[in-house]
Symmetry: C3
Subunit: 336 residues, 3 copies
Amino acid sequence: MRHFLTTEDWGQDELQAVLDRARALKAGASSSALEGKSVALVFFNPSLRTRTSFEIGIAQLGGRGIVLDARSGTWPMEFEPGAVMDGDAEEHVIEAARVLSRYVDMIAIRCFPKFENWEAEREDPLITAFSRHASVPIVNMETIVHPCQELAMMMALQEKLGDVKDKTFLLTWVPHPRPLNTAVANSAILMASKFGLNVRMLVPDEVYRLDERYMSAAAENCAAHGASFDLTTDVEAAYRGADMVYAKSWGALPFYGQWDGEAPYRAKGSGFMVDEAKMSMTNNAVVSHCLPMRRNVKIADNVVDSPAFLGIEEAENRLHVQKAMLEALARDSETI
Amino acid sequence: MRHFLTTEDWGQDELQAVLDRARALKAGASSSALEGKSVALVFFNPSLRTRTSFEIGIAQLGGRGIVLDARSGTWPMEFEPGAVMDGDAEEHVIEAARVLSRYVDMIAIRCFPKFENWEAEREDPLITAFSRHASVPIVNMETIVHPCQELAMMMALQEKLGDVKDKTFLLTWVPHPRPLNTAVANSAILMASKFGLNVRMLVPDEVYRLDERYMSAAAENCAAHGASFDLTTDVEAAYRGADMVYAKSWGALPFYGQWDGEAPYRAKGSGFMVDEAKMSMTNNAVVSHCLPMRRNVKIADNVVDSPAFLGIEEAENRLHVQKAMLEALARDSETI
Amino acid sequence: MRHFLTTEDWGQDELQAVLDRARALKAGASSSALEGKSVALVFFNPSLRTRTSFEIGIAQLGGRGIVLDARSGTWPMEFEPGAVMDGDAEEHVIEAARVLSRYVDMIAIRCFPKFENWEAEREDPLITAFSRHASVPIVNMETIVHPCQELAMMMALQEKLGDVKDKTFLLTWVPHPRPLNTAVANSAILMASKFGLNVRMLVPDEVYRLDERYMSAAAENCAAHGASFDLTTDVEAAYRGADMVYAKSWGALPFYGQWDGEAPYRAKGSGFMVDEAKMSMTNNAVVSHCLPMRRNVKIADNVVDSPAFLGIEEAENRLHVQKAMLEALARDSETI
């Protein structure tokens, strides 16, 4: 039995097999991999695309998705072993994971970090605890990484560019009114580096470095492919010759949960919106962003509405890559 | 491809065809018009009947409904073109509509007006924007009109009265603790007038006129049928000889969003509850109200519990007319 | 047509037949008892297991469950006959029950008491009103009793102990930060007594007696079986020789809704957590608790994690007993 918690646990070949299968599914292949099976979709945070694409994808595989809204529909959950549960939590993840494992054949979880304590939250404690106590496969629907989005992005990139090896991938920080989760940024560099692209990160300041876990993993992936991995604050150096621009905003980890001190660094990126002038410096790059996306704050309307924008295709691909991944997990699982 | 945003866009013959099909479905006809298809049901406001009847109706047609609770389950949405999205909205309806169109085969939307600015809200901006950017049919589950309720009402009326032409339809304002959306009132006069009934509106004061868009449309419909269209504040004149009494409460548009000034006008209607004394003035009329309905505030118990009350039948008909309308849209749509 | 509101309305033989069928279903028997049917699942309170197990169970029987979140997804409801509805409630249960009966084939309801007025709430007014006005079977998903949990508990007990007659069942009050609903405690003594176990209740003080309706019913059930029924505040007397320990916390009815005065009595039970020392006094007893359950507050980790703990099995059994009960109701119902 295997989980899909992070692409760090999966080889490039394995992920490429999932992508290839996703392309076949997008082209119309049918599958009954989940015939008569159920998947719990547990949401600790809101969702539009994830929920819809999982629920429909599961149904298209012959199964049924049960959406559990863990913000309001269920009880607060404890995940520390040995906790004396005299606080808010009415239930331990041990029981939740065991019981759900009796009812369903897979459990997918969305649980964003709480912006309280990065040292604890960088361990992704809730989904990790679920994976320890469940007896069915666990799928990550976004925690501190967003591996389904990674697959969808890579699928869109391969659809457009074919072989992506040796192309140049730019992850650019973009403005947003609030500091956000680093999950999609972590995921973008994990995936681009795993597939052999040269990876550049453009940030307003060094404080926007991602967690060392992901910086190191990406650097090692790039090195293994003979590709480069760079972090820069120089807009022109970053955009020059890029083949793909991936936009994302995130909060600087040194100010995690106490964001007031971040304001001056954030101000340095006020001109970082993706626009036509910046895109003109690239190698005729494609551009994308996971959705939701603030128009004219992160990316200018005329870039979003141009043929270079892959965001809608990437969003559609969520459906196909998730179906392919659920198929793969069902095949590998003794419980299915 | 065609949307069902308002009955204003549909001819009487087309709507009658939907009603005829609904009657066949109610009598037991089966249909697999949505076999293997999905419909997103997007709710910006609460629902009991609408949600249940859509979800079950879609399933009975062989499809699957995905309920998206847009109050809490998804992101706030922008719908102005060109907006610089630095406020609350995380997502533009352009992306939401395009992406949902990749996942599902139809999108149904409930979005009540916000009681902030009638000049803007009378354009029904959210559902209109969705219909512009989606590539699948859009269905109105109540915005500033409630066209599914119109169909259900007309079906109940035809079941009871047969040919409704030249009958007299009274829309009476009734008390309620708060000012409400005008959607069902707008819809009642649109539908009754389209089917050739004489239409009377009984209101406590002229300030309760509905928006001119609907007053004019109803007056023109009536004129085209040689039927009468009247607004009155005289209870006896309104009820005398009526064949159907439709009860509904709504807020007066001149006080839209600043309701304090409405109180003295509202007080004039304190005796407007539908009761046996008023019903005795009619031509043995039937009576109805969309649900939910406050008993003994809008309609007295002994009228609700009498055989003249069509409200339960009308509510059941929601299931049948919606199935018939979804069938019609699926037939007309290239995407289905 | 028959409802499942409380096990008080069902004989031991009838319940045993449901349990026997549940065991067959757990062993793999299939059923299409709800083929093409729909069940409304109406939740006035949160749920993890109940919702998931009902939704999956209904699907496994060939039907479809429609989850209605009555806390936020629908309108507040009135249930007093003749009420002048000028308060918060927009809808009377009469209309809700009648309309849902037109759409679905069964209605399951969760509605906890409000902790306002036990004299009124002990009549279980909402589900009772639903059962009066609906024309389809009503199923209790927990109100002031929790009959599905009773069946699941008895099934787990019979799986472990075989014939339970003449065994000794201890319901022990356990600590919890807040006063809780008495439903599961009421249910535990109803069910254990109906199946002929000797029933002991361990409470910190006499003020934790359950409502006389349930105390009398349990005492009568025990008497009919020649079994004993005791309430004690003596921990050792309670545990000594017990075959099953069932843990549950609840609020003392004399302080219902005005809990401040309960604190000194609650303090007397501060040592009532189920732990190894207490378990060592039993007749090698099994132990259980409905979920959710606070570890190390209600039951110590080393008891929960021991083979004596039946809580996960009991939770799984919810799926099987509910399927068996829905089958039985469908068989008895003219509407199905």
